[in-house]
């Protein structure tokens, strides 16, 4: 039972204090700073709590943390009592004590004053304050060395974050540094730039994740361009991180624009996307860098930026309103290269802008003279000339520190051909693999953190805590059918459950992006399917049989001379969809083969198809589960639960789906039996196991090809007897398969590319409704 705070208070307990904890402390100790305590008591502390508060003070005193700690506590109690519940002040004493043990007395001394600031920032909300207090206690345990610095910055942190975001930020710091206390300290002192970025992310300023979907649609609507938008990695160097960039078929946007908030930040993102769209539309092929100087590269890029914007504004005049407010360079100021470049940008964009500087006037004149036949070559010529002039003016240009202004413009790497550059897709792939390694490393945290992590990070919590990747847990034994003897071999196979490894989430996202239309079609198809108990629909104009009640009423009306109701028929109809689906993926070695007539491997198409189906089903709220299997002889039929029926389809199952890889053999029958045991408990009208496979059961301990085929067939029959449908989507590898034998001629479809999935799925649903 959980007690409400009021009840707790009546019972004389604070929610976090163990009962009787305070009463253990003897009353006979003497308080060090009786004068201060006396003043606090006289002026403000409610009498009802006075005795307990005094005991708390004494206890702190006797614990030997030093005079400073107890003085700080007593002193700030007076201020705190104005803002929060006295019961929380008593609890603060416990937290001060545990901080003193973990982080030392200096941090403990800092805590009461930080608590005052927190109470002010949190506006005295008792629950939130308690959460904050609990967080501090935990943080002292997680990162004792950083406690002091965090407490000192508490006012600033809480000015930007609420408590739950503060928690995420603190945990992000702990996680990014791992067990290395020095790195943790770097993070929390903001010596590590990551800290600021995470803070930006958590502080509720508009981040890329907030606007990603909108930006994608904006790009598509405005320019008809459907390139994937990505967030620049948090690990990228600073100058890369601050600006958008594009190239190789991908567009990268910064995770956040520090300093811009609310509507302005959203506009900045839109302006950035509109600008890159203009490049993609008008810029054409990348320029070779050849022997250009960095300043020339920067200037040619600037002129080219102005050119594409000029063309874009001719097409979409409204873009001027979007872009212009970000040009804030002023005609005065120091003559440094970045400021001159920003002024030139503005001069080329804003006709009302006056600038007396000769170089800028010259740039403007050159551009204006060429506006009518302004192409990329003209940009290159003008940029080159202006670059030379800037050199002659002895204005220093530092390419390493140069950041394009205004903020919405991209870093122009996409404009240039650096010859040795990797394509962005390749970069993404290599980046992914780095991330995966890190993910794997993170799965073995230092001992003192492990408990905390599992409690705090839902996303990373394993589905089943006991099972690790290396050793699965045997969960069930199933018999196997021997067609030669016509009998079952009792408890012949052992199913061992493993936890699936997470993989790159991008796979799922890319699939959904690339096949947006297929997703829509599948969704519509599923939502149109009516799989439920037939219902009788009464009082119809038309129907299969007479609705006797309605007939009687009609006749009564007719006899009494009234207008009879002509709706006297009834019919039965399926109206809803009451269906559980378990998608069972075959991830044996043979799924590494290529699908006939295609460049994709079986397992890739399996995973992509599952991603599409799962997306559609989770969008419609249909219950479904995903599992994968392979086998290493009869004693180890490996079964991976990617998603259970009752877990939501979130990042974890998605990344597990992406992380499946092929290996071992295909003992299909045992896997179907295990999946059947899982879906049997579902209380829906129809239950469906959807097997994705290449249709060749095999295992290395079986030489008779027919043996596993017949066993799988037997398993399918058993399922049918229990009212479970088994249906197979088979990937055609051109090899021998036994689909007809196992599933029956009508219960499988063969596809060789993802796009044909929606064409073939209706058959499955027709089968279910038939």
């Amino acid at each position: 039972m959980r007690l409400a705070p009021d009840q707790l208070r009546q019972a004389g307990m604070s929610p976090r204090t163990k009962p009787g904890f305070l009463s253990v402390v003897a009353d006979n100790g003497k308080l060090a700073n009786e004068v201060v305590a006396g003043r606090v008591l006289d002026h403000s502390f409610p009498q009802a709590y006075a005795a307990r508060w005094l005991r708390a003070c004494r206890r702190l005193d006797q614990a030997g943390y030093g005079k400073g700690v107890v003085t700080a506590y007593t002193r700030y109690s007076g201020e705190l009592v104005q803002k929060i519940d006295p019961i929380d002040i008593l609890q603060l004493a416990d937290v001060v004590s545990s901080v003193a043990i973990k982080s030392g007395r200096v941090a403990a001394q800092e805590l009461p004053s930080a608590a005052v600031k927190a109470a002010t920032r949190l506006k005295g909300d008792a629950w939130i304050f308690r959460t904050w207090l609990g967080l501090m206690e935990r943080f002292a345990h997680l990162a004792p060395e950083s406690m002091l610095i965090v407490l000192q910055k508490m006012d600033y942190l809480l000015s930007r974050l609420n408590v739950s975001r503060l928690e995420s930020w603190l945990l992000a710091g702990v996680r990014s540094a791992g067990a290395d206390s020095g790195r943790r300290l770097q993070f929390f002192t903001f010596a590590n730039p990551e800290a600021e970025r995470w803070l930006e992310r958590e502080s509720g300023s508009v981040t890329f994740a907030d606007v990603q979907r909108e930006l994608k649609s904006y790009m598509n609507a405005l320019w008809g361009i459907r390139q994937p938008l990505r967030e620049t990695s948090m690990h990228a160097p600073d100058h890369v991180w601050r600006r958008a960039t594009f190239g190789g078929g991908l567009i990268y946007m910064p995770p956040a624009f520090p300093g811009y908030r609310g509507a302005q930040a959203s506009d900045l993102y839109r302006a950035g996307v509109a600008h890159i769209g203009a490049h993609l539309r008008y810029s054409g092929k990348p320029f070779p860098v050849l022997k250009l100087k960095p300043v020339q590269v920067a200037l040619i890029s600037l002129i080219e930026d102005a050119r594409v914007e000029y063309l874009a504004m001719r097409e979409f005049p409204g873009l001027r309103r979007l872009w212009l407010p970000f040009h804030i360079a002023l005609a005065s100021g120091v003559m440094t290269a970045p400021s001159l470049l920003a002024r030139l940008s503005r001069a080329l964009m804003d006709p009302d802008y006056q600038d007396a500087d000769g170089w800028i006037r010259r740039g403007r004149e050159m551009v204006d003279a060429n506006r009518d036949n302004w192409d990329a070559d003209v940009s290159r010529e003008i940029g080159g000339l202006l670059g030379n002039n800037l050199g002659q003016m002895r204005v220093q240009f530092n390419a390493k520190t140069y950041v394009v202004e205004p903020a919405y413009r991209d870093d122009n790497r996409g404009l240039w051909d650096f010859a040795e550059q990797q394509s962005a897709m390749e970069m993404e792939m290599s980046f992914d693999s780095v991330q995966i390694n890190q993910l794997e490393d993170q799965q073995q945290p230092a001992d003192d953190e492990r408990d905390e992590h599992e409690q705090t990070d839902d996303e990373a919590a394993p589905i089943s805590v006991q099972v690790t990747e290396e050793e699965g847990i045997p969960v069930a034994r199933y018999s196997e059918y021997d067609y030669l003897t016509g009998r079952k071999r009792r408890e012949w196979t052992t199913v061992v459950e493993f936890v699936p490894k997470p993989g790159p989430l991008r796979m799922v996202e890319n699939t959904l992006e690339q096949h947006a239309d297929v997703v829509n079609r599948i969704k519509l198809l599923i939502s149109n399917a009516r799989v439920s108990r037939p219902q009788r629909i009464r009082k119809q104009h038309e129907g299969d049989y007479l609705d006797i009640d309605a007939c009687i009423e009609s006749v009564i009306e007719q006899r009494s001379g009234e207008q009879p109701d002509p709706r006297v028929y009834a019919r039965t109809e399926r109206r809803y969809r009451d269906l559980s689906v378990l998608v069972l993926l075959d991830i044996s070695e043979s799924t590494n083969d290529y699908v006939k007539g295609s460049k994709s491997r079986v397992i890739d198409i399996e995973c992509q198809a599952t991603a599409l189906l799962a997306h559609a089903m989770s969008g419609l709220g249909d219950p479904f589960a995903i599992a994968a299997f392979c086998s290493d002889q009869r004693e180890e039929v490996r079964y991976y639960r990617v998603k259970n029926f009752d877990t939501p389809y979130e990042k974890r199952p998605q990344s597990c789906l992406a992380g499946l890889s092929g290996g071992y053999s295909t003992r299909l029958g045992a896997a179907i039996r295990h999946a059947g045991a899982d879906i049997k408990t579902r209380l829906t009208h129809r239950r469906l196991i959807l097997v994705l496979s290449d249709g060749e059961p095999s295992d290395i301990d079986i030489l008779d090809k027919n043996y596993l085929v017949e066993d799988a067939r037997h398993a399918v029959h058993t399922m049918a007897r229990d009212g479970i449908d088994v249906f197979c989507v088979a990937l055609d590898t051109g090899g021998e398969n036994y689909l007809t034998r196992i599933f029956g001629p009508r219960n499988f479809v063969q596809i060789n590319k993802l796009e044909s999935l929606p064409e073939r799925l209706p058959m499955l649903y027709f089968r279910l409704t038939a």
Partner: protein, 265 residues
């Protein structure tokens, strides 16, 4: 003539965007059944109204819906105080007395519905009323036209092959920008410049078809926007009322579309 109330007396405005009128008239000469294919609001219904007026043949429109049965088309016995009385359905009416029967969005109707038109759409040109034990020879003026919107919904709800192959099809899309601008400006009374801007706005939403929107903004929708503008509503607000809000409830898409529209003006 019995169907006088179905005659169209005033000329509907129709601006051809290709040879569709010529094609229709040729098909009509032999009473070849016709499918008008195209997205919603691109002028299918207006086209057939225009031809009905031009040919001076009455036109009976049936909007099909998913609960529609064959009897809704053919007719049924209804109960009245004195017993059962037969009532002709719209299809029977046009077969009996000669009219263009226009079945709007035929795929929405249940599959068995479309089968009743089979005997009317081949050389037999007759309709049998089983319940009434009657066979009606089609009137010479009877012409069957159906419309059909090949969208995503056609995955399950597709016409039967045997139905499809009885028809000729005229494809409709949104007209060329210049033509569409002229239509919008004519129908809503806004100046050509605003109308051209609206066409550009429409393209933005059509880019999102299948990527956030089920369907882009139609010509009909643009005319509604134009009408609001000519009543003094500013362009941005008119687009919000008659374009963005009806198209989607998805906040992200609305914002994206709103921003793209803002870029056009």
């Amino acid at each position: 003539m019995l169907l006088t109330e179905y005659l169209i007396t005033r000329e509907p405005y129709y601006k051809p965007s290709g040879n569709e009128i010529k094609h229709y008239l040729a098909a009509h000469a032999d009473r070849t059944p016709i499918i008008l294919k195209g997205p919603t609001g691109c002028g299918k219904t207006r086209f057939i109204e225009y031809l009905s007026w031009k040919l001076k043949i009455p036109m009976i429109t049936v909007s099909c819906h998913e609960d529609m049965t064959a009897s809704d088309l053919v007719g049924r016995f209804l109960l009245d105080a004195n017993g059962t009385v037969w009532h002709d359905g719209p299809l029977t009416l046009s077969v009996r007395h000669g009219a263009i029967c226009y079945l709007d969005e035929i795929v929405e109707a249940r599959q068995d519905t479309s089968v009743v038109i089979h005997s009317l759409t081949d050389h037999r040109r007759m309709l049998s009323l089983e319940k009434k034990n009657e066979i009606i020879e089609a009137h010479p003026d009877f012409h069957l036209v159906i419309s059909y919107n090949p969208g995503y919904q056609s995955v399950l709800k597709d016409l039967k092959e045997s139905t499809k192959q009885r028809f000729g099809a005229i494809n409709f899309t949104y007209p060329e920008p210049a033509v569409e601008a002229e239509i919008v400006s004519r129908e809503s009374g806004i100046d050509p410049e605003t109308s051209a801007r609206l066409i550009k706005i429409a393209e933005r939403s059509r880019n999102l078809k299948g990527h956030g929107l089920e369907e882009g903004c139609s010509t009909r929708m643009l005319i509604h926007v134009g009408k609001l503008i000519s009543r003094g509503i500013p362009l941005g607000e008119a687009c919000e009322i008659a374009l963005i809000s009806p198209l989607t409830d998805d906040q992200d898409i609305r914002r994206a579309l709103g921003a793209a529209i803002a870029a056009c003006a």
